[in-house]
Amino acid sequence: MSELKSGTFSIEELENVQITIGSIVGAIEKAAEEEGDVGPTAKPGISDLRDWDYKLLEKYNPVYTPMCDQCCYCTFGTCDLTGNKEGACGINMEGHNAREFMLRVITGAAAHSGHGRHLLHHLIDLYGKDYPLKVGPSNIIAPNVQLVTGKKPETLGDLDDALDYVEEQLVQLLATVHMGQEGEAIDFESKALHGGMLDHVGMEVSDIAQISCLDMPKAKENTSLAEIGMGTIDPEKPVLLVIGHNVAGVTNIIDYMEEHNLSDKIELCGLCCTALDMTRYRTEGGDVPKAKVVGTLAKELKMIRSGVPDVIVVDEQCVRADVLREARKLMMPVITTNDKIMYGLPNRSNDDVEDIINDLKEGKQDGALILDFEKLGEVAPRLAQEMSKIRKEKGVTALPTDEEFKELTSRCVHCLACELDCPTNLPISDSMTSAAEGNLSPFEELHDKCIGCGRCEQACPKDIPILNVIEKAAQKVIREEKGKVRVGRGQISDPEIREEGVNLVMGTTPGIVALVGCSNHPEGTKDLYRIGDEMLKRNYIVIVSGCTAMDIGMYKNEDGETLYERYPARFLKGNLINVGSCVSNSHITGAAIKVAAIFAQRNVAGNYEEIADYILNRVGAVGVAWGAYSQKAASIGTGCNRLGIPVIVGPHGSKYRRALIGKPYDEEKWKVYDARDGSEISTPAAPEYLLTSAETVEELMPMLAKSCIRPSDNNMGRMIKLTHYIELSEKYLGIMPDDWYKFVRTETDLPLARREELLKILEKEHGWEIDWNKKKILSGPTTKSDVSAQPTNIKRLCKEAC
């Protein structure tokens, strides 16, 4: 008897009958089994990776810094938990904060997975479940999906199965937030790590679905450069602004504009990740990006307040809640296109296109909900053309005139309420004084650091529209905001990993620095340029995504070049890679998984613990979310953590309220097994944290170098990494790091150019015994030099001696 398969079938004897079989129960599992080994944790439930989590948490202790000392989750309370007191239900401050952190993580994971679900439904509607996944020249198509679910997806329909699993697990996790469920912090921590892992599956599903169907670059090197910045937008043309993260509906707008020769007549631009994904749409063959990028969430209110957009289209995630209220003041119709954001607008999805356009241009409604993307594709560009004429005729202006500006800056009574309320306490008051005297430079400088939240205006007792004042003062700077962003390339391909994996594991490529996350940078976008430039010059692989991929392209050197123009984009040392939008972060963890799979020949499918253990001990990678503020950034970082990748956030990231920090002074904790014989070996505290914050870019630099040191580094690799650690500490902190000697196992680990000097310090300050004739270390190091050792935290991976 032949076996049924999924797909669409016709039966010869029956005319006009077609049978569609969506999925066969157990078919994917069977195929996975046939393909080869499936590890012990395919589709793990909440408790299945708990042992691994406990191992991590024993070394990297949760550090809670609560934002609210009360719990108001149920009507048992409100309870004061200050000083780790217990509330009415018995939960203490630690437990409650761990629960809150987990909630943050699963909120982020739900946002990505919900995005993935919407996109997948849409693409399956268009292309069918059997549409093959195409991500580039790779056998490991979806490393996160395969690692977690144990199955290798091949079609859009296979991704459905992976998302089913993620959704089910997220519901189970959310259930534990309820009063009277989990009581111990450590198990909320394990659940948070579980949520982070799920997030990377959800992100990967989203991105490989759109890469496959929307002709986005597929692991392509040196993709095109797109224009970025408020200064790149031509206000003379009708301007159609898109905000959000889900490109599904926008593709119809792009198609309509091309079909009707409108691409040159309308300025199509975007904010946040939808903008990045618009630049990826149909650029697989190296075509010019079909839209411009305005920037990140930090530019959202500023762009609207500029009065430049004629129509705004929003989809989902990182869209300000006041877009409709702000746009209404400036006669900009708003079209919502996704049921996650509807702003109370009437649903016009089933209405005639002409009726919708007429109602909106006549101002009968502030906007419309349009869930039919074909209609959206026609309405948005046509309406932008109409509104551009109307708004110009009516002389709609947003920013204050010169006279108004003078009056507004003079109105300030310098009460400092705005500065107290500003999330970064920017010096608004002094800038007002300077502006009133005709000096705009303090405001120009402040503009780049201002994240455009508008909280200052809420605080001002004199009702000064402070954001408008900043924007008016910074017009010269804004006009010059013209950068470049490399179009997102998608995942790192298997051949690239084959070429570079060995260098990463041995340490001769000093590490991967993944710059990700939002735009809440403490000192503005220049921070990212400085970090990227320094690490690229030192031959680290720098990978960027999302808002960071945008902001790093906003700053130029004296020759007017962005980092994208200065550094090539292969997965090689000294290269700068943009993987894409927020959901493309899964390709960063994907690359680490591939190193273990391809370079070390480890089985991936359902083998999470072993792969994570490998990455923790051997792959020198560190994530940096310098301006992180979203829950999604928390879930991305936590997914990295479970997989053994440490993450540093900027100072604002301390408001995530939970870090994972080790204690290097507790030496008993820094031991691993040698998988060759099961013996215990001491290691340096490397990495010494899984999640922490840094205060300044200068502090961050040596932390990055140190964070890429791994127990398995060979001597050449350790020497290179130690050289960078010492040099960066001297350059940015002005000192030799206190702990550099702890990473020295033998004299060949020492930076070559300074070997003699450092040997003298080891002898004099640390009492190490040196053979000066041979310039060899005779005794002193706490960690043995044995590059053949196979460090592991998992006893079952050791040979029989365990």
Binding site: P66, P651, I735
Partner: protein, 170 residues
């Protein structure tokens, strides 16, 4: 005399327990009484004259935890016993009774904070407030509600004046 306790406005509350306002003379008295004080200095001091004030306090024999890249400004200062440490790490270690301090001489009993971003130091102090019994004093120019004691919201010039008074009393 600089009155640093008039403005105690907070933007959002953290909970029922807030810092007590403290004048410079009171802070000086508490430092003098402490057995193992520690001055935690952040990178904001590198931006103005607060650097001199931090050095002057340290020169009174108080060891310094230099966070961020503050060591740049302290490394050559005479009579200053300063060591670099990441402030998030420091916040974690201070909650551990087994930590013997930056110099290995034992736990601290009073922690002073100067030169940090308001939102950042409030987070670090939230951890210390809830998970340690340490006495913490913020001598910043903003009211740091999660410290045990804090200066209020003051103008930069008042802040410098207050720090001078504190130094004079040590």
């Amino acid at each position: 005399m600089a009155d640093v306790t008039k403005n105690l406005k907070v933007y959002t509350t953290y909970g029922p327990k807030n810092a007590k306002p403290a004048q410079p003379a009171i802070v000086a008295k508490m430092i003098t009484k402490a057995k193992r004080p520690l001055l935690v200095v952040g990178a904001e001091i590198l931006k103005d004259e607060k650097l001199e004030k931090a050095i002057a306090i340290a020169q009174k024999g108080i060891p310094v935890a230099a966070t961020g890249h503050t060591m740049k400004g302290l490394k050559d200062a005479e009579g200053v016993d300063a060591k670099y440490i990441n402030i998030h790490f420091l916040g974690s270690y201070l909650c551990d009774a087994n930590w013997q301090g930056l110099d290995g001489k034992g736990p601290y009993d009073l922690i002073l904070f100067l030169g940090h971003k308001k939102y950042y130091i409030n987070q670090v102090l939230s951890g210390l407030k809830n998970f340690s019994n340490l006495k913490t004093i913020a001598i910043e120019r903003h009211f740091i509600q999660n410290a045990s004691m804090s200066f209020g919201n003051i103008k930069p010039e008042t802040h410098l004046e207050a720090l001078d008074e504190l130094i004079a009393e040590l």
